[in-house]
Amino acid sequence: MSTLFGTFLGPMVQLTIDGKEVAAPASATIFDAARAHGIPIPTLCHMQNETPVGVCRLCVVEAGGRVLTASCVRQVENGMKVVTNSDRVLAARRTLLEILMSDHPSPCARERQSGDCELEMQARNHGITEIRYPKRYFTRPKDDSSLAIAVDHEACILCDRCIRGCNEIRQNLVLGRMGKGAGAGVAFDLNTPMGESSCISCGECMVSCPTGALTNKRIAGTELPIPAGAVPAEPEDLLELPVFKGVSGTFLEMNKGAIVKRSFHPGDVICREGDFGSTAFYIAEGKAAVSISTPMAHVKTHGGAGGWFSRLTSSLIGRDSDAREEETSQGYIPIDASVDLAYSNPVAELGPGDLFGEMTCMSFYPRSATVKALTDCTMYEMLRNVLDILLKNKSFRARLGKEYKRRALETHLRGVPMFSELSPDFVERLMDNVKLIRLSPGQVICKQGEPADSFYLVRIGFVKVTETYPGGELVIAYLSRGDSFGEIGLLGAGARTATCTALDHVELVKISADDFNAMVDQFPGVRRGLQALADERQRQNAERMAALGTISLDSFLGQGLMEAQSLLVLDLARCTRCDACVRACADAHDGITRLVREGQRFDRYLVATSCRHCKDPLCMVGCPVGSIRRRNSLEVIIEDWCIGCGLCARNCPYGNINLHPFQVMADDPDNPGRRIAMVKQKATSCDLCTEHAEPSCVYACPHDAAHRVDPRKFFSELLGTKV
């Protein structure tokens, strides 16, 4: 009998349960004693491995007192007479279940998923078919912010099992109670959405929840196909990996289909740049090379100097032979892995413990680079729900977090000429102090006008920088991997001059004001560089502000257009919408038109240049290698390392970006070591047929509606007469 209660029992007491004489340790509860002797008592809020709290009262029994008592918390006493199934007890339980059910969105998510919502099961077992109590008249919210777990406060019965799972069992201290009375509920941190809270996605709360209040998310496509050479990853294997330490086994079991174990042989291509995907890879063993195979070059159009058949041709030219204004001088290419690639030699090595494909997996961006196995490799390929579990894992963060910080600081800080003078030991100091922070889509990082307290480096994702003007909001930039922000506020302005928002799943390296100040104090060169940058940005801000004092934001963007070299405008009072211009453009550019008759309008003119200076330049969102950005003139420039994935072309609402195919020599995927001719694409936009005396569209318009104009003259006349 001693085995029933474990080894340390203490003094024993005698009692009867449902007429049966039993012995139990004095410290046991009635529920434990009954269970030890095979007498079932239904429970809801009680779980074997958690401290009993006795809140649901479903386990009530008669124990001799005037009122029924909750058996999960009530200690046994010598000579106690317990009845677990009298009519009085059963009636009480039924009433209770009926009240709980009246508040329950039956069938709840759990009931629908697996038919085992504990509350609904208990109600069924107690023969409750009809609920006589009125429904609650208000609704409780759902929280969809976590990638792995769906929260439905409607279905929560306030049993606190999740809270105890999170705090007692896993000691994560994320979950707690909030609100009072009818408004009570469970809350993550200080009632933040689960996805934004300090939750580490261990899954314990979900495994503990008796109802559909916390359920495993089954997002579309959570089953990975199992390709050749792969086996499903067993939860036991995964728990062996340090990166999954502390995760609930049940939780992993539930997400089993979303992670597979794959083996690769040297030369195998694991993923290819520009491809679409939805998975990330974790390297368990072996080494892989990550590289970009597209030529480093942009599209340049030639020909057309004279003659009747002066068709233009486009070719690829690198920045050594054709430096365009305002190209970046940065020496590396940001990719979707923990390393970055050097511009001069875009190849790097990944090894055990490395993770790549995070952005593809979290936000479905195209693959940023090609990864090939160098040795025999074992990798885990996973979908975003599992990646989320992994990324939030404490031991994973402890291990890789340090590595990430180091790489982020090394490449993004020291790689930028401005920061190159930082000494290794200062970087070391930063490493200990900086924080990695994760943000979910839409989360605001800092607000215009707030006091500035830190400097940030973007490690993953896109940050939208907006400024508010009297006439509305203007997106100044989309910052991506490797970009930094926050220096203006720290270098004197004191307050944030722009609002920064996470656009997707963003991870930042946060450098506190103290460390930042120490850095600029110790390295005057860095201060000068940053100061110059901050001054320039502020000067631009001031200019924008001054300009906006008098005109609307739209007209202001028109002023942005003025900075352009020259503009193509269509006079809509003349244009018969015959599309001769569009056809001419296509004819001039190997059959691909770069002109679309839609865009910003000024008075009776439609502006149709290479870029419309959108308030919100969506083309820039998602470029997996960060090769498209705004120039100071607000036009778009596409850097030479564009891999031709085409995302920007799809994202530009005006179709102003096109992909131009070129034949290039590249590695043959089937015969490693051999090179074959392949078609690679490069993104490009209207070049105003600069090689011609007149753009083809203007030349071809029969109605004198298309004009190439000098923006300054054109707009000063237009605005001058209009305003």
Binding site: R577, C578, R597, G622, R650, A700
Partner: protein
């Protein structure tokens, strides 16, 4: 093409040519013993010149097929087309001495008259309609995109109504609506906030019912078939009345949504208008082009026959 001061040279030149031709014709017609005739030397000169102008006019079509060949700017060709094409008519009338002649020549002359008149009609449309489109269709889109924009408007409207009234498109259907590639290009489609998304209006079933039923019975059919005459939403003033009434039935909290719906209807009407104006601006060419080609072919035939026999 808009007829503006850039046409002055052409206008003057045309008047000069016409004046000279008339003078020659009058002298020649009075002097000729049997009256003017297409076969006389002067008649032949008129015939050839007129024919030349017609050919030049017809070549506009050919020129437009090779837009980037540096054969002169398309607008130069267009101006020539208008004025020389116009001059072709009096010249040919002088050529035939204002006779219609036999069957072939009658057909020719009628073809020429219709072609020129249709051309003049088209030129008038092209002079006025672009401004009308500009003013009456501020939300103009690319003509070929109209259907797609309409689909988007419908999805948007359904979204607004679903946000207000709850329910709405089941997830599976919503997924099906996402265009191929849309989901994958998550950067854009997936993250772009949809108008009004997730706003809690705090209204009861009964309060949102008028909006829902208006949408189901009136607006959705209109969005699905915006050019149907039967719907009052297709008419500017009646649509205003319909929405004013809806505003009175629905609580104030729903008014922003109603305003959105009203805007969507307005855009639908503009698109209908755009389609109509666009067709007007282009369908006359269906008369002008085939007839002009027939005219050119038959003219060659007539010239060959007339010179041979």
């Amino acid at each position: 093409m808009r007829i503006d001061e850039t046409h002055r040279v052409w206008l003057v030149a045309s008047i000069v040519i016409l004046g000279a031709a008339t003078a020659v014709y009058v002298i020649y017609a009075l002097a000729a013993p049997h009256g003017p005739s297409g076969g006389s030397p002067i008649g032949l000169v008129f015939g050839f010149t007129g024919f030349g102008f017609m050919i030049y006019a017809g070549l506009l079509g050919a020129r437009k097929k090779v837009p980037i060949m540096r054969l002169g700017r398309a607008q130069g060709w267009m101006r020539g087309h208008l004025w020389l094409g116009l001059l072709a008519l009096p010249l040919i009338l002088f050529h035939g001495g204002f006779h219609f002649g036999g069957l072939l020549t009658s057909i020719l002359l009628w073809l020429l008259i219709i072609t020129v008149l249709s051309g003049v009609f088209g030129a008038i449309l092209q002079h006025y309609l672009p401004t009308v489109i500009l003013e009456r269709v501020p939300m103009e889109t690319i003509y070929d995109e109209i259907d797609r924009v309409r689909d988007q408007l419908r999805v948007e409207a359904e979204g607004f109504v679903a946000d207000l009234c709850g329910g709405g498109v089941p997830e599976a259907e919503a997924m099906a609506l996402v265009p191929e590639g849309g989901i994958r290009a998550g950067g854009f489609t997936a993250m772009r906030p949809r108008g009004g998304g997730g706003v809690q209006y705090g209204l009861t079933e009964a309060e949102v019912e008028p909006v829902r039923s208006f949408f189901q019975t009136e607006m959705l059919p209109f969005l699905l078939e915006p050019s149907a005459k039967s719907s009052r939403l297709g008419d500017d003033t009646r649509a205003v009345a319909a929405f004013t009434k809806l505003r009175m039935l629905a609580p104030a909290a729903a008014h922003p949504v109603i305003a959105n719906l009203e805007n969507l209807c307005e855009e639908e009407r503009q698109l209908t208008r755009q389609a109509r104006l666009h067709k007007m601006l282009h369908t006359w060419l269906l008369v002008h082009i085939p007839l002009s080609l027939a005219l050119l072919l038959l003219s060659v035939f007539h010239a060959v026959i007339a010179l041979r026999y």
